[in-house]
Every structure is written in structure tokens, then in C-alpha cells.
Amino acid sequence: MIWVNAVLQGVLLGGLYALFACGLSLMFGVMKVINLAHGDLAVVAAYTALGVVAVTHLPAVWSFVLVVPIFAALGYVVQRTLIQAALNRSVLTTLLVTFGLSVVIENSLLQFLSANSHSLNIGSLVSDSFSIGSQITIAYLDLAIFVIAVAVLLGLQHFLSATKHGRLIRAVADDREAAQLAGADYRHIFGIAAAIAFATVAFAGLAFGMYSSFDPTIGTDQLLLFAFEAVVIGGLGSLWGTLVGGIMLGVVQQVGAQVSSTDQILAGQLFFLLVLVIRPQGITSRRRTA
């Protein structure tokens, strides 16, 4: 039963990883931008929530009402200015620019907000749980984060497959030049995709801030890495794959932690390497014939 519990906890944690990863996957899929500042953005979202709570006295749980739209707007602006300017030079330049952004964010946070760790105070919700049998305990918060993550991914899937702007995002991702010849302003579409990516990472950052403590360096040290691993394990290009990748990473980490509590992250990374060696296109991807 201990193992069943570990797997269950892993599945729940995997939802959070998938939420982290979907924005990374979207930005790569649509504009071929690997956003190295992705993890730091999640941390900034969590800090922003701290600020929102301090100013408005809203319960932390409701901070997303402000933080997520702010990040969506931020995503659009950053894409249309900084990232687009980098894209106009080359795709490689975007790596440098987002890396620079990551360094700037991390050091600004250290400079102005210190290296102390914080967490979003959600009262007793952080520890409330229910039990199944004697050895399986599920925290309401973990369950809620998982449900929200799945809901966000389903919503995103629906948006991409069934709405006008979703269709445009797919068209631009498929062939930017052909989309332009059909009258689509790809820069605007890129902006929308980035807005979605930033909004989802803000969601993920808030969930993480409630789930665990955070500090300025955790964005690059852990979050970006986990998001990357989830995307690569699941296979690029599908949200469904991202969810599967996140869940597999979560399960492997939790099972690893069950073996030895210090091996949680190592287990995840070994699994990531294994997938890279055995199935580099990811678990859910078909091998693409170019």
C-alpha cells in the first residue's frame, strides 16, 4: 500500500508538472522559442501573489484572479517586444535573450526580495487531507491542483482545436509563411500564444507557491528542469503528451523518494535520461516522417 500511495502522490504531483510544462511546450511548438526564463516566471508569479495578498488582503487562493491576467498581458508584451526582436535575428538569439531574462529575474529577486524562502499562506488547506484505508492519505490541496491542472490542459486543448484563434495558432505553428499568405498576422498570433503560456505558468507558479516554499533560485534549479523533463518525456507537440510526461515524472520521483528520500530528484532525472536514450521522441509521440 505504501507503493500505491507513492504512485498516487506522484500522479497528483504530475498534474502540477504538466501545468508547468504546457506553456514551455506551447512556446516551442508555435514559435520555436525555448523559454529559459519559464521557471523564473513561475517564481515571479508566486512573488506577485504575495504582493497582491499584502495589498488587497484577498485570500491567497484567489490571487490568481489578478495574477493570471497580469501575466497574460505581460506575455503578450514580452513576446511582441523582446522575444520578437530576438526572433527577427535568429532562433538561437531567443535562447540567449531568454537566458538573459532568466538571469536578470533571478538576480533582481535576490537583490530586492532577499534569498529567504516564502510560501503562499492558504491556512489549514495546506495540511487538510482525507484518508483511504490506513496508508493512503490525499491532501485536498494536491487533489485540487491536479484537478485544476487537468482542467487547464483540457481547456487549452479545446481552445486550440475548436476556436478561431486556436486554429490560427495551429496554422502559424505549421507554416508561418503560408499563414501570412492567408492573411494571418503571425506576430499577433505569437503574442497570443505567449500570453497563454505566461498565464499557464502563472497558474503553475501560484499552485507551486501554495504547495511548497519558494525562493528566487528555485525557478531555474528545479521548475524549469521539471517542465523540460515533462515535455521531453511526454513528447513535444501534444498537450496530452505533456500531461502523460508530467505524471510519469511525478510518479517516478515519488517512487524514488519511497526508496530513499534523498533520491527523489535523481530518480526523475535518471528516468528522463532513460527516455532520451530509448525513446527520444517521447512516450506519446509517433515518430515523424519528415
Binding site: 486554429r167 496554422a171 505549421d174 507554416d175 509563411e177 499568405l181 492567408a182 494571418a184 498576422d185
Partner: protein
């Protein structure tokens, strides 16, 4: 022909573009009236596809001015030019593979022609009907064969509501019967007053449909007139010496690979 007021639908004046030492457009000038249909022939590397790139906005000229309906478009990007009424097909079809045929066309109807909701669905259905793709509306575009891909390329360009349609080798690789059908579609497009510039190696497809033929070589026009006159022109014959003026309906498949000069 240019209308009474002297405003041409499309006007290129002094357009020059080169890639390194290769000049693909050498001080090109061209005027086209609303509803005109013009064919362009020329050897590989003559700058035909580059000319389309310059008109559609994929390529920026080094000098010269391009006007559509009297308004300068030289510095506009392809999306803006599309919305102003320039539709273009690619020589090698480039459908959005992961999307259905209907969605491919819908994107162009909504973005290019600016239609919304029901009006856009109806317009997309109409375009699919005209191009013979109704039966494939819900097929993923990546599963289509060559003929259907060529038709989709035409459908998507048509769906953007063009005043000027640029056709790049749409007949290449098709059978005689398919070319006949294509000529029928092109003629029907023309009856709506849409001007057409058609690049084609299958010269008989062109002569059956166009009133004016231009021959492009080395980035310059060496012939301009009725198809019969241009094909009889010694300068044009010189250009084609030893190369392909294909007079059979089913000419060799497009020999130019990819986007020339790019």
C-alpha cells in the same frame, strides 16, 4: 488593361532584387488592370517565383515601387498585402498539414477576407465547392494527394478574397484531364473580375487561358504580348533554346525545386 482613370490594379515600377550576384528582378516594370489575366513563362532561375515573392511581400525589393489599386504596398508584410487583396499559391503546395481541408480554407476566409462566423463558414464551403474539394472537407490536409494539394493551395488563395491571384505552377505534375479541369476553374475565377498572374511551364495550359503572355529571363521581361506573338518572338525562342517550351498539355513536372533563388 488600366481603367480610364489610369489607375492600374497592380503596378510595379523599377523593381530590383538580387541575391548576391544573381539578379532576379532587374528594374522590372509591369502594369495590370482589374480582371486581366497574364501568363508568365521563362527558364528556370529566371526570377518568376521571386517576382511573386516581391508582389506578395515575401521578398523586399532593393529599389522600386509596388502599388496595388494605386496604393503603395512596397513595405507591407505578406499578411497585410493579403488582406488588401493579393492571393498567392506556392509551387510546392504548403497546406497546414495537421488541419482539415475545411480549416485550411477557413483560416484564409477569416484572416484574408475578414469574414466572421456563419458568413465565413458559408464562404469556405463555397470555395471548396468551386475547387472540387467538397468531398475532402474533413480530411486532414496531410493525407491529400498531389492533385488535391494543388487544389487546396488554389482554394486557400481564393478564400482570402483576392483582387489579384498569383498562381505558381498550379498545373505542374497534373494529367491532361486535370489540367483541363484546372483551366475551367481559372476561367470561372476570372469571370468574377479577379486579375490573375499565372506562372507555368505547361505552356499550352497558359495559352488556353491567358490573353497576355510575358517571358521573364534573367530578371527582365523579354517578351510581352498575345501568347502567339510572344511564343513566335525570336528573342523568346532564344531564351528557351535547348530548354523546355512544353507545348504538350502534360508537360514535365515542375523542375524547379523549392523556392527559386531563396
Amino acid at each position: 488593361m488600366p481603367d480610364a482613370a489610369g489607375t492600374a490594379l497592380l503596378e510595379l515600377s523599377g523593381v530590383t532584387k538580387s541575391f548576391g550576384r544573381v539578379v532576379v528582378a532587374d528594374n522590372l516594370s509591369l502594369r495590370l488592370g482589374a480582371g486581366d489575366i497574364v501568363g508568365i513563362v521563362g527558364p528556370n532561375g529566371a526570377g518568376k517565383t521571386s517576382l511573386f515573392g516581391l508582389i506578395a511581400g515575401d521578398l523586399a525589393p532593393e529599389s522600386g515601387v509596388i502599388r496595388l489599386g494605386g496604393a503603395e504596398v512596397t513595405r507591407l508584410d505578406p499578411a497585410a498585402r493579403c488582406r488588401l487583396g493579393i492571393g498567392r499559391t506556392y509551387q510546392v503546395p504548403r497546406p497546414f498539414g495537421g488541419m482539415t481541408v475545411f480549416e485550411n480554407v477557413l483560416v484564409a476566409v477569416q484572416q484574408g477576407a475578414g469574414l466572421r462566423r456563419r458568413a465565413s463558414y458559408a464562404a469556405a464551403v463555397g470555395v471548396l465547392d468551386r475547387t472540387g474539394l467538397s468531398g475532402e472537407a474533413n480530411s486532414p490536409a496531410e493525407r491529400l494527394g498531389l492533385l488535391q494539394r494543388k487544389r487546396l493551395e488554389l482554394a486557400r488563395a481564393l478564400a482570402s478574397g483576392p483582387r489579384l491571384l498569383l498562381l505558381d505552377e498550379v498545373a505542374g505534375g497534373l494529367t491532361d484531364l486535370e489540367v483541363e479541369q484546372l483551366i475551367g476553374v481559372v476561367r470561372s475565377i476570372r469571370t468574377e473580375g479577379i486579375a490573375i498572374i499565372w506562372i507555368e511551364h505547361v505552356v499550352r495550359a497558359l495559352t488556353a487561358a491567358v490573353e497576355r503572355l510575358l517571358c521573364l529571363a534573367g530578371g527582365s521581361f523579354v517578351g510581352d504580348g498575345t501568347p502567339a506573338a510572344v511564343l513566335a518572338d525570336p528573342a523568346v525562342r532564344e531564351v528557351f533554346l535547348g530548354t523546355e517550351v512544353t507545348t504538350s498539355l502534360s508537360g514535365p513536372p515542375a523542375a524547379e525545386s523549392g523556392r527559386e533563388g531563396a
